[in-house]
Every structure is written in C-alpha cells, then in structure tokens.
C-alpha cells in the first residue's frame, strides 16, 4: 500500500501531473476576488476566511478526476483491483496521495494568500488549522466522486455536481472556524465537528469508492 502511495506521488510530481495546477488555480481565484469586490481592505478582511476556504475547495475539486482517470485509461486500475491488497486500501492511498499533492500545498499557501486579502492577524492560525483538518475529507469524498464517474467520457462536470453537495458540511464548519478565529470569537464545537467529518469520511468513503470502482470495472 505504501508502494501505491509512492507511485502516485511520483506520477503527480513528474509527468506534468498537475501538481502545481491546483495551487495556481487557488492563487488566481484569490487574486481575482479583489477585482470583483473592490479593493476596500475592510470588506476584503471580512470575507477573506470564506473566500480562502471556497478557493481551496474549488482548487481541490479541479484535480479530483486525476485521482483515478489515468489509471483507468492505461488499465492499471484493473491490475490494482486484482492485486492482493484490498481495493479499499488502494483508494485510501490514492486519496492520501491526492491530499499530499493538492490539499497540503493549499493548506500551506492559504496563509500567504491571506495576506493578499488582508485577513485579520488572529485568523491565520485558525485558517491553517481548519484547512489542515478539513481538506482530508475533501480528498476522501472526492475519491468517491472520482470512482463514480471514472467510466464516463465527460465525467468532469458531473463530478462537480455530485461532489459539491457532499462538501457542504466541511465547508460550513471549516469556514465557520476561520471566520470566528479571524473575528476573535470562541471557536466552540465547530472544530471537533470538522475533525469528526474528516475522520468519518476517511473511514467510510474508501468502502463506497471501492464498491463504485468494482461496479465500473465489471
């Protein structure tokens, strides 16, 4: 299973595998926001936590179909499905690789982009923490969405339609943590709830995704 992880990481790093793509998309979204809203720093500071969360979510969404599409095309998904390791584990490792190549860079880049949006100082720590806790769920849910649409010719748009409603709870809690942190309020129950969603997604989603892959490989 570690082998699968290392293979996916190597593929993402080398073959022009869209490693920096999500990050660049995140940057562009954040840069475009002031043009749409206006350069008023007080307004930008107020909406910064939400914009950063939304941007990270969309950047994550952008690279989801790559989790399985390449393996599906060259047939290595069939080999992985018949390999002696459980398919659920393979999916989990693929989600982990997606998180390491997309989610983690987003988490690290978010505070830097927060400067552009004039994010209030107490918000930086909470924003990074909420993204670090929330993005694993995005990758795990995304792997399920990718598994559902892997056999389709033009699955990209459908993938967004299927996955975005599933992202809603993570977005609500994550953006709430960042917002409360930025305004200096007590964080409350949002933090354990976000972590709970991430843990539950990591535990359950590989099973649903593996079931979907088996159906698609039939």
């Amino acid at each position: 299973m570690i082998g699968v992880l290392r293979r996916d990481l190597a593929l993402a790093m080398r073959a022009g595998g869209g490693f920096g793509l999500g990050l660049s998309f995140f940057l562009i979204v954040v840069v475009l926001v002031p043009f749409a809203i206006g350069p008023d720093t007080s307004i930008l500071g107020r909406i910064a936590p939400g914009i950063l969360w939304l941007g990270a979510l969309l950047a994550c969404l952008l690279s989801l179909d790559r989790i399985l599409a390449l393996d599906w095309e060259d047939g290595s998904l069939d080999l992985l499905a018949t390999a002696p390791i459980p398919l659920e584990g393979v999916v989990l490792m693929k989600a982990a690789a997606h998180w390491l190549t997309t989610g983690l860079p987003l988490v690290l880049a978010a505070p830097v982009l927060g400067v552009l949006l004039n994010l209030p100082v107490p918000g930086y720590g909470w924003l990074t923490l909420s993204l670090a806790l929330g993005t694993p769920a995005l990758s795990a849910i995304g792997a399920f969405g990718a598994a559902l649409t892997v056999g389709l010719k033009r699955g990209g748009l459908l993938l967004s339609l299927l996955v975005l409603p599933l992202y809603v709870p993570s977005l609500i809690f994550g953006a709430e943590i960042a917002r409360r942190g930025a305004e200096g309020l007590a964080i409350g129950a949002a933090l354990p709830l976000l972590a709970g969603i991430s843990l539950a997604s990591l535990a359950i989603m590989p099973f649903a995704a593996a079931a979907a892959i088996r159906v698609n490989l039939r």
């Binding site: 399920f144 559902l148 649409t149 056999g151 389709l152 699955g155 459908l158 339609l161 299927l162 975005l164 409603p165 599933l166 809603v168 709870p169 609500i172 809690f173 709430e176 129950a189 949002a190 709830l193 969603i197 359950i204 989603m205 649903a208 079931a211 979907a212 159906v215 698609n216 039939r218």
Partner: protein
C-alpha cells in the same frame, strides 16, 4: 400468505399496477380537488396572516413528499443492492424527478408565502437551505442516471450515491442548523402533539396531504411502468438485431 417480493417480478408488478393505477390516480385527483377547494374557499382567514395562510395546503404536503420521496429512493436502492430486484431500482429512478419537482414546489410556494410574511423571498434559513441541498442531491442523482449507458452499472452507482447522499444530506441538515438561526416556524405537523393546528385548517390539510401522497404514488407507478416498457422495448430491439 404471499410474500411481498412477488411484486418484484416485473410481470406481476405490471399486472397489479395496471389495475391499481387508475384507482390511485382517480383518488388522488379527488383528494386534491376536495382538499384544495375546501382549504382555499371554505376555511376562515388566519387572524394574523390573512388569506396567505392558504398556501399551506400546497406548501406542507409538497415539502413532506419531497423528503419522503428521497426516503423511498433510499429504501428501494437498498433493496436493489441487497436483493437485486430490477423493479425496485426502476421505482427509485422513477421517483427522483417527481421528488425533485415536489422540492421545487415547496421552495417556490415557500418563497411566495415568505414574501408577504417575512418581507423577503429568500433567507438563508436552515430549513430553506436544507431543501436547496435536497434539490441539488436530486439533480446529481438524476444526472448520474442519465450519464451512464449500461443500465445495471447505472443502477448500482446511483444506489451507492443515494446511500452516501442520504448520510451527507442529514449531515448538512444539522450543519446548517449550526451555521445560521432560523426564521422558519417549527414543524407544522407532528404525531405526538395533542392538537397541531386548529381543526378548521387541519382536516383540509390532511386531505390535501393524502392527495399529494396518492399523486406521488400514481406518478411513480406510471413512470415505473414506462421504464419497464422502455427496457422491454430495448431488449426486443436487441433481439431483433441479433436474429
């Protein structure tokens, strides 16, 4: 005692639904006409809300059926995944657009009701927001059915999506409660209350709810029959081509 699984046989299902469909449809029209006419013309105006309260006879039953349609899809999807009865999953497929329509009706009537009462067409109230999510889930489910060519693959994948979607729909329901306080009133109807609303409004409401349930049943029966016929037609054409 016959087993309920007999109706999973498409032939039995077609026979039974052929007999029952006109009755269900007729009863539904009767209930809807009686409930709505009674509600609209023969009940007094509410002393605070005036005549606008009468939209309740459309709003509450539609909202009720929007949720129940999803629950029905959940159950039939489970039956498909466990026992692989084709009629079951076809019924789920047939129910989805009907449920989506009910969701839209509930949202639209709610907006029309909210405008004079709350002074706004839309607020990001937990109930309203969850209904919007429900609509998105319906859309995703229908889109996945449309996108996949092979019927059995489509049935399996949409069923899995329905299960996962149910979990996340519930999760979103409670997440939005956390996120924003509501403007919407509490539940209109619940079984454990002595008197839900004044009987003058209650009885016509019950009749129109019965009408909506029967309407849903009739539409699902009709659409399931269409799906079964379409599938038979496809099988016949495939056989023709082989011969």
């Amino acid at each position: 005692m016959k087993s309920i699984w007999e109706f999973a046989n498409p032939k039995r299902f077609m026979q039974l639904s052929q007999v029952s469909l006109p009755w269900v449809a007729g009863l539904s029209v009767l209930c809807l006409v009686v409930g709505l006419v009674w509600g609209f013309f023969f009940t007094p105006d509410d002393f605070r809300q005036g005549a606008t309260v009468k939209i309740i006879y459309l709003h509450v039953p539609a909202a009720l059926m929007a949720i129940n349609a999803w629950i029905m899809m959940l159950v039939t999807s489970l039956i498909w995944l466990i026992r692989r009865h084709h009629v079951s999953v076809l019924a789920a497929r047939a129910a989805a657009p009907v449920g989506a329509t009910f969701t839209v009706i509930a949202l639209a009537t709610g907006a029309i009701w909210g405008q004079p009462m709350w002074g706004t067409w839309w607020v990001w109230d937990p109930r309203l927001t969850s209904f919007l999510f429900l609509f998105l889930f319906y859309l995703g489910y229908i889109a996945l059915w449309e996108a996949i060519e092979d019927p059995d693959t489509a049935a399996d994948l949409t069923s899995v999506l329905c299960l996962v979607g149910s979990v996340f729909a519930l999760l979103s329901r409670y997440a939005v409660l956390f996120w924003n306080q509501g403007l919407h009133q509490g539940a209109t109807l619940s079984l454990d209350k002595e008197e839900n609303i004044s009987n003058v409004f209650y009885f016509p409401l019950l009749v129109s709810i019965a009408g909506f349930v029967l309407l849903f049943l009739a539409l699902v029966l009709l659409r399931t029959r269409t799906e079964i016929r379409a599938r038979r037609l496809r099988a016949l054409m495939a056989r023709e081509r082989l011969a």
